[in-house]
């Protein structure tokens, strides 16, 4: 695996709740070189926090607590455990002490050569991620001179124009001098993608790249990401709650729920409707989007009752137990009392469910 996250734990202290929230709680996933991993799940399931952890961009305390993040055979959390002390009682985090200074200094030394250069990220709101005081061109030139061998201004400008062309921005020479507020949302997202790719990173993290854009523009951005994937073969971690986007672009899928990964496998396998080997949560997610059949018969959507649980207390049993509609009497007591392991269900296909545990 090119990027491999193992048993990652990222916690935050919520002042309003006066408790620690386990945003990511023992998540494990991997992205192989050249493939696109789609990460799906409802909001609050920990998708974005997992990605930010991998990019070393978690703000807030205590933040990343432990686990392994191996990127290109380097553990980005190497030897960091000694800065953290977590005290748990009855599934609740009572206290978390983190030597922030020590952690940051050590983590930055591991991360410096990686973030921006090796790992690039695009965000949901491109307008907020672009600097409003600087033209698109100037921002691209800065990134190119910083991260690549094109150090001269003229050369960097050539590269910048090249990237604006590659993300199919029309009249790139004109757009080069535009500020982000003078451009439409779709165009900002293209500029953002150019910005991420211009450093020629080896891993791209795309966090909800199409959310908030119009339907027609969404389709164009998805198309662009598909083309860039084919052209550059860049390894991508794509995060979205939009299953249609995930389906279109991903080779493999990780389904997240309440801070952990409940299913991973090949896209075709995981997203197949009514598959036999499927996590009940994945099945429910697929069923809650109107299908051609639902629309034709005008029948009710299959909603997942209830909401994503807050992850303050570690559940004794399966995290999805309270909302699961597939529990049988044979497994009920195990579901309620014991968290299922992420177990092999087939070649390259893993499930965290007692129904499918061997």
């Amino acid at each position: 695996m090119f990027l491999s996250i193992e048993n990652l734990r990222t916690y935050f202290y919520s002042r309003s709740r006066r408790a620690f929230v386990r945003s990511v709680d023992g998540a494990s996933l991997g992205v192989a070189r050249g493939e696109t991993l789609g990460v799906v799940g409802e909001s609050g399931s920990g998708k974005t926090v997992a990605a930010l952890s991998a990019a070393g961009l978690v703000a807030g305390s205590p933040g990343v607590i432990g686990g392994r993040i191996e990127f290109d055979s380097r553990n980005l959390l190497e030897g960091l455990e000694r800065y953290v002390k977590v005290e748990e009682r009855d599934g609740r985090v009572m206290a978390a002490e983190k030597d922030e200074g020590g952690w940051r200094k050590h983590a930055e030394s591991l991360m410096r050569r990686v973030r921006g250069k090796e790992i690039a990220m695009i965000f949901q709101n491109p307008r907020a991620a672009l600097n409003p005081y600087s033209t698109v061109g100037a921002q691209l030139v800065e990134a190119i001179r910083l991260h690549t061998n094109h150090k001269s201004k003229a050369e960097a400008k050539e590269r910048a124009l090249h990237w604006l062309e590659r993300v199919r921005i029309d009249s790139p020479r004109l757009r080069f001098d535009n500020f982000s507020f003078g451009m439409s949302g779709g165009m900002c997202q293209r500029a953002m993608i150019a910005m991420a790719l211009c450093a020629e990173p080896s891993l791209l993290i795309a966090d909800e790249p199409t959310t908030g854009l119009d339907a027609t523009i969404q389709a164009r951005i998805v198309e662009l990401l598909g083309e860039l994937k084919a052209e550059t073969g860049i390894t991508t971690m794509l995060i979205s709650h939009d299953i249609s986007v995930i389906r279109r672009l991903s080779d493999r899928i990780a389904v997240m729920y309440a801070g952990t990964v409940v299913e991973t496998g090949a896209a075709a396998e995981v997203l197949r409707p009514r598959a036999a080997e499927q996590h009940p949560y994945t099945a429910a997610l697929l069923a809650s989007v109107p299908s051609a059949e639902t629309i034709r018969s005008k029948s009710a959507l299959q909603a997942i009752e209830g909401e994503v649980p807050d992850t303050i207390e570690q559940p004794r049993g399966c995290r999805f137990y309270g909302r699961c509609n597939r529990v049988t009497d044979a497994v009920r007591s195990r579901c309620a009392n014991l968290e299922p392991p992420l177990a092999e269900a087939g070649p390259g296909h893993k499930l965290r469910c007692w129904l499918h545990a061997a």
Binding site: E42, R248, L301, Q302
Partner: protein
Amino acid sequence: MSAILEVTDLSKHFRSRRGLASALTGQGRVIPAVDGVSFYLKENETVGLVGESGCGKTTVARTVLRLTDPSGGRILLGGRDITHLGRAELRPLRREMQMIFQDLDAGLNPKMPVRAILREALTVYERPSDAELARRTRELLEQVNLKESKLANFPAELSGGEKRRVGIARVLAVRPRLIVADEPTSALDVSIQAQVVNLLRELQKHLGLSYLFISHDLPVVELVSHKVAVMYLGRIVEMGLAETIAHQPRHPYTRILWSSLAEKQTAETATKNVGGVFDFERPTHGCRFAPRCPLYQEMGRPAVCTDAASVPPLRDMGKGHVVACHFA
């Protein structure tokens, strides 16, 4: 079935006050946000309104509810002309027509617990006794499927789905006949979206509500709507039964809208055609879609499409299906 809402030739023009020209002349550029929109909504019926952002969907909603004054046209609510009614005359009619906003927090006072929010809504038009108030509160909770324990919670303590339910309960409190739902699900997660869509359909069945349902989520619109109107830059370009619009669209824009959905789902890129997508012109005369229209390009740019004097009229295709295109 009678029409609960009838909108004829509605327009709403905004004046832009930016730029040197407006400073010198004192007159801004006129922006026709809504221009000649006509449709009607029958009892117990849902009309879906789709189109890209900026096409005037929300302005239609706000104008229909007289939250902003129309620049022209006529609005009939239950047969009564409300186009020019004043504030005081509108007040009793407001209980007939209510709006659900995209923003989950809209209408939820952050300093009031759910119980007080519902009490306020229940006492706007009526003076119920305490017992009656308690009964109606319970009834509302039941209708939107919310636990009674939530009454003591403040909005900040509710999840997105719960906030949406309280918002709906609040609207139902005045027993409206018409609900304008502006992107009611877009701030919610897919699984919660499904709950809310189901809830809105249930309520329609039981209470005989009429919905003007605005959304950019095409499958959801197709599922909940009887009729769908497609808007482009302030005008309705196509309208008809939901299944007709989704499966046999005639207007090139409607086709692009629905094919972009299919494209997102499959690897096919059948329609590589939205010429000059990124920064298209916004003509205010002739056919407004012409600069992006694949059909216009294919047919060798016919002059009639860009002729300022000939806006394509909505032509009747039968079965209430109307299309505003010279060549569709």
